[in-house]
């Protein structure tokens, strides 16, 4: 795009001024946060420029009308999660913000290679800790942290899985700091959810924001089901010509049921519950209208503990009796493998840069957020001293619960947390408060900057493939950093621009 003699900074500030005085973007000011749209100090991508001028030309009323249409549409389509209280069941939508988050080809290259590297390291780590335990013997990771971890599964010791792949579907939570650098916040190596929203958000964009997308080259996301099915077929027991894959769900009352439906539909395979499966003669079968039919790969969306009452929680009604034994005998594949929880634990997360270096002799392509492990005395002392400026997270929780955001906490909250921390330091890690990047988001008072993160999804059978884009979650409340859907977060469509 010709920029007629002006410097890049001049063009950017002009553009910003133009945006802030026109249309939907009026009054938008990201302050000192890194804005994913304006990208201070970064080369301008022509697509972004075009997108911004299109946005600036839209009246805010038009955006609001579209947002309303989108919300109605999500409810009608049942793209919802169900919240149960005493006697009622309410279908809630994950709020959809219609201003997309854009990732340039160069940025995507870093994310994609970084995720692939991380998944490789996670799988090598899992293989190692369930076999020779070299990384523990070399004292790179404390043995206790692994072997006494609640996610470490004895049943996995010495057991081989195809291609040594444990984490078939991985969701890597990535944030961007005030300099625009990507950092990994968390690995989700058990049953990461949200991929259905990646695809549904795109379909929603195509419905309500088609004028914004016209002629832009955005990479497609519809391949996910096919890629996932191929990976599931790859890991099926050897010698099976046309492996039967199923998605195993806890059932229609599970809050993520919509996603289970989505996965089954996109893969073209049955969506089953534990009661539809049975183990006979050492093999796994599903109950069909024409009798029992053998199942070769189970993409399960049930936690380890509930998979098999014989092997784990004996009270589980959701699982399949004898499943783990059949798996151990190589008669069926289970994705993700059992026992991956140890690898995505927040305590192990702190060691990920060293784990990557240990197995791959490479620097992490995507760095961690600087993390202190409170089990280590120095780290604990530092954390206690700087509590008011740190984020402290319990290592065994998920969903944004039980964490302390120092700068936002009251004196009472700080001293309460200090006591918790002292009582059980090994349960916590601390990180500096991040100035998460922001993205223009439609709010009550206009288009305003809101913090976002990104969860790309990596599918691994023999090799790893990363869905271009991922789930961009947005903290809809002003100032808040927590993007979890259970804590008032929404989501955006994520556009990876084609080269």
């Amino acid at each position: 795009m010709p920029v007629g003699g002006m410097s890049q900074t001049q063009v950017q500030s002009q553009l910003q001024a133009q945006l802030q005085s026109h249309g939907a973007m009026q009054g938008y000011d990201p302050n000192s946060f890194f804005c994913e749209m304006l990208r201070p100090g970064q080369p301008l991508h022509p697509t972004l420029t075009l997108l911004m001028s299109r946005l600036a030309s839209l009246p805010i009323e038009s955006l609001r009308q579209r947002a309303q249409d989108a919300e109605r549409d999500l409810l009608d389509r049942g793209i919802t999660f169900t919240v149960y209280s005493d006697a009622t069941a309410i279908d809630r939508i994950l709020p959809f913000d219609l201003i997309p988050r854009v990732i340039t080809p160069a940025e995507w290259h870093q994310i994609e290679t970084g995720v692939v590297q991380r998944v490789r390291a996670l799988n090598m780590f899992l293989y190692d800790i369930y076999h020779e335990r070299k990384i523990l013997k070399d004292k790179i990771v404390p043995a206790d942290l692994v072997l006494k971890n609640a996610g470490y599964c004895q049943a996995m010791v010495g057991f081989d899985v195809p291609f040594n792949t444990y984490v078939h579907v991985c969701g890597t939570d990535i944030v961007r700091d005030e300099t625009g650098a990507f950092r990994v916040l968390e690995d989700n190596a058990r049953t990461p959810s949200g991929v259905a929203y990646v695809v549904e958000n795109r379909h929603m964009s195509l419905r309500v924001m088609s004028d914004l997308m016209t002629s832009l080259r955005v990479r497609g996301v519809d391949e996910y089901g096919l890629r996932l099915h191929n990976a599931m077929a790859e890991i099926a027991p050897a010698g099976v010509e046309d492996p039967q894959v199923v998605v195993l769900s806890p059932g229609i009352f599970n809050s993520a049921y919509f996603e289970h439906v989505f996965l089954a539909r996109e893969m073209g395979v049955p969506l089953v519950e534990g009661r539809d499966l049975t183990v006979e003669g050492g093999k796994v079968w599903m109950r069909t209208t024409s009798g029992l039919a053998q199942v070769h790969t189970i993409y399960r969306r049930i936690g380890d503990d509930f998979l098999d009452p014989d092997a784990f929680n004996p009270d589980s009604m959701l699982g399949v009796r004898g499943l783990i034994e059949a798996w151990r005998r190589g008669q069926v594949a289970i994705a993700n493998a059992v026992g991956t929880g140890v690898a995505d634990d927040k305590a192990i997360y702190a060691y990920m840069p060293r784990i990557i270096k240990y197995y791959l002799s490479e620097e992490p392509i995507l760095p961690n957020v600087d993390t202190r492990i409170c089990a280590e005395p120095d780290a604990l002392a530092y954390t206690l001293d700087h509590l008011h400026e740190l984020v402290v997270k319990p290592v065994a929780e998920s969903g944004g619960y039980g964490l302390l955001i120092g700068p936002h906490a009251s004196k009472a909250q700080l001293s309460e947390f200090r006591a918790l921390l002292k009582a059980d330091p090994a349960n916590y890690i601390s990180q500096p408060t991040l100035k998460l990047s922001v993205s223009p988001t439609l709010c009550e008072d206009g288009v305003r900057p809101r913090h976002i993160d990104l969860r790309p999804f990596a599918v691994t059978g023999r090799d790893t493939w990363v869905l271009p884009g991922g789930l961009t979650r947005v903290a809809l409340r002003a100032g808040t950093l927590v993007v979890n859907s259970s804590q008032g977060g929404g989501s955006k469509d994520t556009w990876v621009l084609a080269e």
């Binding site: 049955p270 009661r275 539809d276 109950r287 209208t289």
Partner: protein, 321 residues
Amino acid sequence: MNAIAKPHKVHLIARHAESTIWLARYMERIENMARILDVTNTFARDADDTRNWLSIPRINGDLAEFYKKHTEATQRTVGEFYLLDSDNPTSVQSFIAAARENARTLRALISTEMWLQINVFHGKIRALTKADITPDHFTSVCAMLKDGAQAHTGITEGTLYRDQAWHFYMIGRYLERADQTTRLLDTRFNSLAPQSDAVDADIDAGQWNALLRAAAGYHAYRREHPSGYNAQEVASFLLANTAFPRSVGLNLAQIEWHLTQLRTRYFLRMPAALERLDALNGMMTHQNVAELAGRKLSPFLDYVQREIGALHQDIVETFAR
């Protein structure tokens, strides 16, 4: 030349087959309930109000439950019981909740459009209040329910992939239609037909009219029998006619076709169901009905209803192991 690849086998989870039958039955029940309420509403205006509204709890075998909540049967009480009361398992509230739950179970199998319409329809039915069923709105509520149920039928016809699941779905629809027609005939016939084997020509034409309208068969019946009403002919029309979409005979014949398709295309053998169906089908002849019309009809209809229930069981139990 390459060998032709073995076709990919598509299985149907047994539980899902059962769910498709139920989905169809519940959606059909909504339409049927709307028809009966609408016709009763129109018909009851000229006649003895109490008696006619009571016929609806009677058709559904709900008299005891109804009287636990209401002291008399009026448009308001019967309307509330069948349109708003989600504690009543035979209300449209319960039907749409059950239909949606089955649709949710089948969501990966049915078309997105089917699911979307059921979901929106569910929202509309759930939002009904007492203000929506007052006399001035009653007909339009019934019309909304019929429209929703028929939109479902149409979307299903146009979008549901016709593999095993479709056959089971259709069996569910026809089972329900056959069942509903016998119920309608049973209650109305008792109050309409003379208590002797002789055919009485002096029956209130308005009442026959209502019975046939509730079954959506009024105009077709007029065309076939322009000279007037006759208990035997009405019974025969509803039970043995092979062109009327809600006749018991036609629906049984459709079920037979679908069972045969399941056998020849998917090798699903349901001998118990086919045998029962065969016997039942044999009874749905004009001659047989003519012999039964009158006081023997009611026990016969009871028998047919039980057999339709048993047929559903036969089909489901074949693969519920």
